[in-house]
Each structure stands twice: as structure tokens, then as C-alpha cells.
Symmetry: C2
Subunit: 824 residues, 2 copies
Amino acid sequence: MDVSFEREPRADTANAEARVASHANPGIGQSALRIEDESLLTGTARFLDDIAVDGTLHACFVRSPHAHARILSIDATAARAMPGVAAVYAAQDLFGELTEWRMPLGFPLANLPADTTPFVLAPRETAFVGEAVAIVVASSRHVAEDAAAAVAVDYEVLPAVSDCRDALAPSAPRVRTEVASNVLQQYVLSYGDCDAAFAAAHRVLEEEFHVHRGCAHPMEGRGVLARPDPSSGELTVWSSTQMAHELHYTIALMLGHPEDLLRVVTPDVGGGFGAKFMIYPEEIAVPAAARKLGRPVKWVEDRRENFVSAIQERDQYWSMAVAVDERGRLLGLRGRMVHDHGAYTPQGTNVPYNAASSMTGPYIVPAYHLDVSVAYTNKVPVATVRGAGYPQAAFVMERLLDRISAELGIDRAECRRRNLIPAEKIPYTKPLKSRAGVPLTIDSGDFPALQARALEAIDYDGFEARRLASLDKGLHRGIGLANSVKPTGRGPFESARVRVQPSGQITVYTGALAMGQGIKTTLAQICAGHLGVAPEAVHVIAGDTAFVSYGMGGFASRQAIMAGSAVDQASARLRRRILDAAAVVLNTLPDDLTLRDGEVVPRTGTGDSVALARLAMLLKGVPGYALPVPGDPGLDEVEHFHCDAQAYAGASHACEVEVDALTGAVAIVRYVAVQDSGRIINPMLAEGQVHGGVVHGIGNALFEWMGYDDSGQPLTTTFAEYLLPTAPEVPDVEVIFQPSLTPLNPLGVKGVGECATIPVAAAVIGAVEHALADQGVRLFEFPLTPVRLLECLDMAAGQGAGQGAGADGSGAGPREASSAIEGP
Amino acid sequence: MDVSFEREPRADTANAEARVASHANPGIGQSALRIEDESLLTGTARFLDDIAVDGTLHACFVRSPHAHARILSIDATAARAMPGVAAVYAAQDLFGELTEWRMPLGFPLANLPADTTPFVLAPRETAFVGEAVAIVVASSRHVAEDAAAAVAVDYEVLPAVSDCRDALAPSAPRVRTEVASNVLQQYVLSYGDCDAAFAAAHRVLEEEFHVHRGCAHPMEGRGVLARPDPSSGELTVWSSTQMAHELHYTIALMLGHPEDLLRVVTPDVGGGFGAKFMIYPEEIAVPAAARKLGRPVKWVEDRRENFVSAIQERDQYWSMAVAVDERGRLLGLRGRMVHDHGAYTPQGTNVPYNAASSMTGPYIVPAYHLDVSVAYTNKVPVATVRGAGYPQAAFVMERLLDRISAELGIDRAECRRRNLIPAEKIPYTKPLKSRAGVPLTIDSGDFPALQARALEAIDYDGFEARRLASLDKGLHRGIGLANSVKPTGRGPFESARVRVQPSGQITVYTGALAMGQGIKTTLAQICAGHLGVAPEAVHVIAGDTAFVSYGMGGFASRQAIMAGSAVDQASARLRRRILDAAAVVLNTLPDDLTLRDGEVVPRTGTGDSVALARLAMLLKGVPGYALPVPGDPGLDEVEHFHCDAQAYAGASHACEVEVDALTGAVAIVRYVAVQDSGRIINPMLAEGQVHGGVVHGIGNALFEWMGYDDSGQPLTTTFAEYLLPTAPEVPDVEVIFQPSLTPLNPLGVKGVGECATIPVAAAVIGAVEHALADQGVRLFEFPLTPVRLLECLDMAAGQGAGQGAGADGSGAGPREASSAIEGP
């Protein structure tokens, strides 16, 4: 476990449930239209590349074509001589601008070696295809690209390792010459008595699983614009990031730039999905080059760069054994997980830890033992993509439950129900801790009820009729189920400041980060509810270090919880302060006043009113005049909402597929997502997030495959090769919110974004297997592309009904016939 | 009285004296070297004109040559056609950029008519010589000036009023056609039974006084640079101002510019002295022009502009009668004061109110009645210059006391002593309130002790020997005394934020404003004392709205009190927070730790230490990890120190002059300034402020005369005509701090800056009169230039020993021989 400050989570849960249940904010629960949309729809939104600064130079990176190579020399003479080229900097050229060659670890409390983080520019050796070795700055992007092509890098190609299982072999080539081993971490997570559990088991089943590598692929890739002001020393950096404040910290650290002379601004962000929850070497190299040149420099990632240098995820191999009793109840789980970590550690090793520690999901598992190996490979570094390890774990768990059901002849829903943590055991503390030492306590929820609702919504009992109808069309219909739970609202805090300006403008400032999910609308609604205005009257500034000194940003389904609660608390206090001040000015009592459309008005009957603008002017302070109310000046409240514990958001998904066994085509014909995301602030937005989450999961399940060959060369570097789901592949997702209120925050809200992705691959693959049960197909991997499905069908047919596809096709050897698989 | 929120001052004075007396901050009391000086001495300081922004255009104003005129037309055709001219805007041209034509009133709670504030540019009529009617923007200042000369303004000259006494006549020309009368305010300040006091008086003396108009004349005049960013809408405005936040407010208001898109930055400021405690029309016109043009625009005031458009002060006529008993004790004061307010009210009418309400100074006056007339004239508007009305009042009071002493044959020091508020009556509440409704309570001090110390220091008793020695040189030696008291630390609040950055940098951010007095050093000392570093390790950012949302700025001798206390409180809290966090990280107790040179170290013996930088990194927040200590993130504390009551700073000055009756030359040969400025934070800086204050007073007393002719034409618009004291005129000022601690702030500090100016003219003029007592000269005005002194000598000689100079030479008629004037 990482270094941590051993304290119990700070959330005050005493009477929290009653407090949360009675929370009154008229802004909550309304499907307000998105305040973001006007600028997006009228073309006035400003994504990174839209920001125009006079005199901007354009950057391009020279990237390694080799998965592993020693840099013998870099000759930029020809490139530097090209017209329009301002500079070509290799690592050594830029070092004068930097305090360190390597990036700092994103989670500095993680116990990791110093040689694991990436370099700003690789100085001696490259460890994956796409690693940057030089930055070219020129008058335009095309000049920069031409010049980058003219930079002559002499590489000595070194042996590379592509598969994380191979990487573990003592004889494997080392991923970088500086590391003694490819094994970054090896640890065991365990509790209970697994030996006893397995010894006493009615049945022990074993299975191999593989979840393949994929990417986050926001619509807008990464991008950085750095504007130095040589006269003042100020440096302004715009970046398409999920963590503006961390970027501020890192630039100040790496460039030795005074914090007060640095501003990081987040423009409109065209999606993050975890890939921008990261400080990248490019985000240091570009400001360093700009400061060195004294000129603005912009770099906008192209799609190929995104494929070869933005972080990736998912790649894991699991070998699991499960011990069950005769009723299908889980007695123990044990096995091994190998996690492909890529070439460096930009952030930490939370993804494998998340997967390993969450494997049991919403189920009771009395004994658990998992050997975890985190292996370096010569591939793009791995960090978090939506779900961050949870989808892998959920897939393994749910597929095991399907296997148990099949082996024991128990209905899959019933088998799950028997193992789900019952509502009366909530709060339920798993005998594990988070990487930071926080107990894994499921604070709220009713998992059996979620599943029951999903079964009802999809008409589980009526499946057979639909199966027959599909069969009439020549299609195999299957139904899949999956449950999941994820802790959301990761701490330690988020900031909000709510202010009424003397112009009357209400502004929310937050360290949270808007990257397309509608968080500005959410926060505006919460604020507006307290201050008696429409949400569109509230301006939200997110992720701009000029306005907020501390902030964590957008990740881990945290923003509605952390920033939402901060805005709620700050707005509630501001309301009281407004009423107190207005009462003095109007010579009445605060309780006789209320807020309406920017004015403080009598609650009933007639009387004087006063505009918020007037109050804000009085409260900014007038020399020699007392403020109308004691306390700090301004109509201004700041709240840093803290919570180290997390709110567990459950989901139960059910889907039906029709599979064409001739083409391998899978059509998802029904999709029901029952979500417990606590109180819903904006149903429309939350539903949109669930849609997005399910689509992300469908992409993972059926399409997204980031391939590398044995030498570490990427095979999929365009959207022609790497497939994303498009409209025809996406079903009409039925979203049902069945909330339980968490006591961990005043709103009772939980995260949404990731929670809808986690169970999807398990449900979809389960449905496909169910559809093809009579053909003996067994599926333990994703993505399951049509080609791959045909391979599995062929394999099953060739090996008789008892042979499915193992984790990677080489599988776990022959499996028994699945005679016990039954209909729902 | 102005509109106000009726509350008693908020300062908690319970046990305050003991608390203040025991206040421990090792940074206080040391004469630390100024942290400002390195950049000033090495030429890297950045005054307004030093700020270089690419593409900057330069502005110049077309100003009225007439004291009162109607604008018939403005023809800028020729000017606009000149090469390099970007724009010429008259009022109408700029109005599209503005929400209002007129400036808002600086003190919006003052009960003043709407037609009293100046215009951004005069649209129809000019009311003083120097009023701006158009702004010219060009490629350079000289092009702009040439173009300004080419703007043809057709004026219809209207009758003007130059003398405020004339202005009061019903038949006087109105200062502006829009006003119904030249009388802006007429009110009575009174308490006690004056009629009874005068009826019962042993003697009633009458006198006329005139204090002539002067200016503030900072070394650096005003200046504004506005940089719009058309792409983001951001507008950055640098201004040489004493109130950055008020400027932010006013620009946002006047330009309708979103507050969040506006930043006001104060560069190094080359002095303010009250003239920059003001938002000027130029500070609106320049950003408006810049925004309209989409280009940076800079305007730097030249000295002539400063003479004709920066605010001025002092001009007052007093007709007073004083009732005394046979022992020279004051029984009552009554009379009339006419205040020359100039053409507009930019701020409020605090200067005449200050003078009227402070006239009794540190003396007990049982009954008081003053008729106040605030009169418009066609001259530069009046607002605050160092002392803000107090020097005028002190002059009147002290000259009356000299007159009483002379008439009754009482020693001047003894006469004062008999009337000073004795220490045992402190706190002493005068039966008057401030313009904002706050009782005038002298919180602390011992005035008789201050005077005793001054007499001792100047060797009052040994004067006769020195007089004879001077006489041997043919010079008339005189000694003068004056006491004063001024409320300092004007509220309502000042802001401070103290922060340790992850780089380890300690920064103080404040809404206070550094304009040369060394306040950055003062604040750094206070912070450094708590945080265990040297003052130069503390960076201070003052008056930048990007870093501090609320601030009042620099005026009314308030900054050490208000900002100093805010920094003190914030730093003390930050120290505790640092120790608490370090104790968690080091696994020890906070009490076992202390701070030294940027590290938290064991208080005694050996043990682990931790750098502030490391703590700051941990406390900024790491995703998913608890903060080491609960509470807000960061090593960051904010304090808005409030106090509506003011700390009264006393002074007792004594000086000796040698007067050459043939030339009128006055040499100040001794000057003793005993100051009660509470606890002294940095003796060297405080002494420097007293030096400056005394020199300012000497300038007022003997040199500074801002003349206008009867038509309102200024007569002194260069430093050849308007005299400032230079080194030869300045004596070696002996500064003695004799502090009493105020209970109104935790440091026990009081203001310094103005308090040394207030009694100077009274003391110096008193000394000159004393020197020439045997020639029958009586002096009731200042400045007393050599020429004027010769006139007074001539007049006294011509009219016999009994005739002095009345207030303006026309005086109060013949006066009796001053046979009672005696030596000290």
C-alpha cells in the first residue's frame, strides 16, 4: 500500500441520512437545459485549437518509431535550417529550462521507484513507439511536421517486449536498460481463508480471462498553448486537461517557474475519459519551449499521436479459480492477475489496484487471494480510462457467475441474487483498503433491488418468446446480466467559490473541470436553486488557476459529489449572507425576505426590495463605511468540500443481443441500465452520461482493440483500424435511476459517468455467449469483434460443443460441455 | 451625515490591551532593510511607464483651456488625418463603450446630488482648466500630442468663479450650468451650549484663517495602461493608483465589462499622497479606448497635466471665535468654514468634514459650533491630500491657542497643557460622529506626555539662550509648538492571504497598496516573524486583483493597521497549520516543532524535519489521498481584518526657526517630532515616514502655493512656479516614538504617514510668528513664502506693532498689540 496519513474517513455520517434526505434545493432534480450548449451550438465555444494568440508558433514532436531503442545521435541541422523553423530542441537542448528531466509521479505518495516516470523528452533511450525525443517549433504545423521529418535520429534498435506475460519472464528483454526487472510491482491482495474455502467447496471452477488494451479517444485530443510574457515573466498555459491545478503545480515544479507568474486555463474540453487525468511530457515541453523562445507555442495532438502517446488501459490477464457451495454461493476466489503497465508510470499503479481490490464487486466473497503482477512492456504507458480497472474486474466476476450458473444449473439472475450483498448488510465494509489506506466501505445501496428492477424492465421472464421470434429470423438471441458497484467521489476535496459581483453577475468558480459532461450546468443548477435565479443566470468558471487556488479536477466520477457539494454548501451560506445583508439595508428581518431573479424581495406581501448588485457593491467595501453585515467582505463564499470516503454507486444492467452466427455480427436489441447514482441533480444530464457510459462499454465489448505486434509496433493507429461504436451499433438504452442516498455528502449524490461503463462488457459478452450457448461457445475476453466471434464459433465447432475460446485463444485447454446452461 | 449602517464599531476591545501588550511576533520592532529596494536600486522596478506591451498605442488628452466654457463643437478631422493617429474620441464617440457618461461617486453612501461627479470626457461644458474633452490615441506620445493640438474645439467662454467665498454669493456665476447653486453642502457641526460658553467667557478672541490650495505631487504622476485581449475578452489595466480594487469595480461598472474578464494590476507606484486615492476619468477613458480599438493603450500624465487635472486640496477659509476662561481654558469655539471644493466631486466631501469634525484636535472643547459651506469653484476638483483636512483644522486650532496664550500672557506650552485631554480621560469620545456615523473615540494616547517629551527634546527651557545667539547673527529665532491627533486605520477592512507554495515560496497577497512607503517590507516582516524566515524570503503582491478579490487600498494611514493586522492573523494561523501538518508527517507533536528557514524542525534536540515545500505539495491535494490535516487544502490562510473604529495617533511637534527679516527667509533649525504611532513595526521605515510627513508639512507651511487668477486660470503649472521643499530647506528632523498601544488591533499599531504632516504648518508658522513677535507680525495663513512674509512684515510695520496679516491680507481688520506674547 502507498504511503498514507492514517486517518479514518472524515465524513460526518452521524444523522447524515436524515440530513441528506431532507436536503432542500429547488434547483436539484430538474432537467435544466445545458448552459454549455449555446456557445457549442453557435460556434463560439473555444476548444484548445480555437484559442488564437498573436504570433503563435506551432509545435510538433519527433517520436520514436521503435518500441525500444537507444538514441545514438540526433542531428537537427537540416531541420533547423528549414524556413519557418524557430527551434528544434532535443532533451539536452531543453534541459536549461527544466529542473528535472523526468516527470514527477502523479501520485507522489505511491511507493514507486524513481526510475519509473516518463521523461519530458527521451534523452538516451526510447521505450515505446511514439515516445517523444525532440520538439520542433515552427511558423506553422505543416512546417513543423516537415522539419520533424528532417530531424535525423540515429537509433540502435533494442529488443522489445510486447506482451505483459512475456515481460515477466526473467529472460525477457528489459523494457528499459535502466530498470533491473520488468516487474514494477508484485503483491498479494487477500483476506479470509482461501485454502479452507476451496477445500470445503462443492465445486471449484477455473477460468482464464483477457481484457484487451483500448484507448480513451476523446473527440478532441490533447493540446497545449503556452504564452510567455517576457516583460512580466508571466506564463499562461492553456491545456485540454482534466486537472488544471495539477498541471499548474507540475509546470511550476518542472520549469522552476514562480507559481504566482503562472496561470493554467482550461478551455472547452472535447472529452477526457481518463486520458487527460494526467500530466503529459508534452504539457511541460511546450511551455518550456515557449518560455525559452519568448513566444507563444501551440501544440495540438493529431489522431495518430493520440494513438501512440496518449495513455491507454484495460490490458489484463486473469487466471481465476472460484469455490462455490451447492447453491452456487461463493466461498472463495483465488488466482492471479497480470497487468500490462506499458513503458512508464506517469501517474501511479491505481488501475491494477482498482481491478484487484474491486473484483468481488457487489457480491459477498468470504475469502479472496489474488496475486498481482504489474509488468512493464514496450507500449504506451497505462493509466486510467473510464472505469479505471473496474470494468476488467466486473467482467471477470460476472463471467465467473455465469460459469457457476451454467455449471450448477442455476438461473443466472438467481445465482447472482444469492451472492449479492443484501440491503440489510449495508453499510458493508470489505476486508480490503484502498491504495491510500481507506477502508472499502459500501456506504449505501440495495443491489438485489437494482437487479430485480433490471429484470423487470427487460422482461426477463418473457425472454423465451423473444428468443423464438429471433430464431424465426435466423438470429440467435441471448440475454446477459451484470451487476457492478464503484466508489465514486474520490477525495480529498474539491473547491467552489460562489460570488455575486457588483454587476449582479453570479459566478461559480471551481477546481472541478468541465470536459463535456455538463458539470457547469449541474453546478449552476445547484447554485441557482439556492439563489433564486435560473441556472443560465449563473456563470461557471472551471479549471482556471487564476480564479481558484486549489482544485483536483475531473476524474473518478467525483465532480457532482465533490464540486456539487462544495457549490451547495457555499451557495447555501451565500444565501444566508445575502438575506442578512438585505435585512440590514431594508431594515427588516432576514426571515421575511427571499431571493427572486437577482433581487431580495419580501417573502410575502409588499415591501422594499434590493438588488443583489447593490448589496454586492455595498459589501465590497466603501472607505470608512461599515459593511452592512459583519464578516468577510463581498457576497462571496468559498467551500472546500472534503470527503475521504467514497459513495458507492451501483448498477445492474441487462441486455439482449441477436447474433448472426454466419457473419459474427452482434446486434444489441435491448439495453436496460438500472443505476443507483444517488439523488439525481439533472435527470437529462445523468441519463446522457449513462448513455455515454453504456456506449463506451459497448465499444469495449465489441469493437475497441488497440493492437501491437510482437515487437511492440502498434497495429491500430487510425479509426479505420481501431473501431469505435457509431450510431448504428448503439441501441436505445433504457435508463432507470433507482437511487439510494449516500450519507457522505449533503446532496446524497453519487457518481454517474463511469458506473454505466463498468458492467457493460460483462452483460454484452454474457448475452452473446447465452445466444450461442447451444453452439458451445464460451467467451472470456473482450473486445469480441465479429472476426473474433467467428473464430470462437469455429473453434467451438471444431472442438465439439465443449470447446470455447480461452482468454487469448490459446486458452485454458479443453473445457467441458456446458450442458447446464439454461435459459433465464 | 451620509447614509450609514448604524452599528457600533466592531472591534473587540475586551481585554484588548492586555492581548495587544503581550502580542509576540519576533518580526516586529526590527529595522529590516526594505525588500523593495533591490529592484529600485538595480533599475528593475517597473513603474507604470516601464511596462512594455507589444503594439501599445499612446494616449493624450485634449483639455479645456477655459475655467468655464460651453463646448460648441469638436472638429477632429485634421487630427484624425495625421499619420500615426489611431483615433480621436470625444465624449460622444466613446459613449458606446460606456454605461454612463459620469463617473460614479467614490463614496456612494454620501448624500450627494447626482450631478456632482466628473464626466469621463466633458460632453457639453468644461468647468475647470484641464478638464478633458477628448482622448487622442496614436503611435507615440508625441504624435498624440501633436494631434491633440490639431483638434479644433469651439468653446463659448462662460463666466467662472475662482474664489470659494465669492462662489457663495447668490449672484455668483454658477460653476456649471447644470447646478442650481455653487453651494454643494451647507451644514452645522455642533455640540454643547456655545451661547452659554461665550456669555460666560473670560475672554473671546476672534480670528480669520486661510489655508491655501496645494497639490499632492507624487514623483510619478498618474498613468494607465490598458491591454484588451480581443480573443478572450480579457482586459488588463495597469494603473498607478492607491486603490486597485476600486478601480476594478469602477471599470467593470463604467465599461460594463464582466468582472471576471478584468484584471487591475498596480505596478510600482512612485508615490500617491492622496492624489491617487481616487478613480479618475482618465482611468476609464483609456481602457474604453483600448477596448474599442482592440489595442493596448498607454497614457502617462505629464507634470503640467498633474497640475491641472490631478486632485488638489487644502483651500479653506475659517472665521473663528474662541471663548476662554481666565486660565486660558477653552470654553467654546464657534465660527464658519468655507471649503473650496473645485468643480466636481470625484470622491465625496470628506475633506471639509474631516476638517470640521477634527478641529478640536487633542483638546477638550466643551462647546462647539461650526457652519460649514462647501463651495464649488471653477478649479481642479478637491479630494484628499495627505492629512485630508486635518492639517487645516490643526493650524486653526494651534494658532488660536497661540493667540490665547498671547492674549492672556500664558506660556504657550502651559496653555496647551491645560487644554489637552488628560491621559486619564482616554478613551475619550468626542460628541461628534464620523461622516459614516462612527463615534469619534480617541482610543488611546497620552497627549500631555507627548508634549512634555517634545519640550524636553527641543530644550524648551533653554530657548532664550539660543534666541540671543541667533540675534547675534542678525536672525530672529522663534519656537513653535503644535499638537495633533488623527484617527488612523480607516475601515472597513483590509485583506491578506498568506500562502506557502509547493516551491516553498512564501507569498503575502493583499488588497493594500504599496506606493513607496515600504508597506511590502512591513508586511513581509510581520509574516516572516511568524514563519521563521527572513523578511526577504517573503514575496508580497499588493494591489493586483488577480490574486486578491477584495481590498481597499492605501489611504488614511491605514495599511500597517489593517493590512498588517490581517497579515499577522493569517500568518499566525498559517504557522499553527504548518506545525499541525508537520506533526502528522513527522509523527510527533506540534508543540515539539518550530519553523526555521523554510523547514519545520524539532524545537529541541534532534529529530526529523520537513520542508515547507513538501508540506505544501502534500496539502495541495493528491487524488485519492487524505490531506495530512483536516480543513481547507493548501498552506494558505486568508484574513480580512475588520475595524470600523480608528486608532488615534497623536503627535507633538516643536520646532525652531531663524528668520531673516530683511529677506523673509525662514530657516528651520530644529525640528522635533514626537509621535504616538502605537507599536512600531520597523523603526527605520516609520522614521522615514515621519521625515516625509514633516517635509510635506514644511512644503505646505512655507512653499506650496497652487495659484489661480480670478478667472480660474492656474498660475502655477510647473515646479519653477510651484515650489516644493528640496534638501537645503529640510532640517534634520528628530523623530521620537512614544507609543501607546491601541486596543483596536492585535499589533497595537497606529498610522504614521499623515500624522507627521498635520501639526507641521501650525508649528512652523507659530515659530515664525514667535520669532517676529517683537515686530508685531501675526500669521494666520499658509503657505508663508518669503515674499508673503515680507508683505506681512511690511504690513505690520506700516500699521504699527498692532497690525498683522489677516487671513488673506484683507484680514479681519486691525488687531490689538500683542503685548502679552512672551517667551516660552
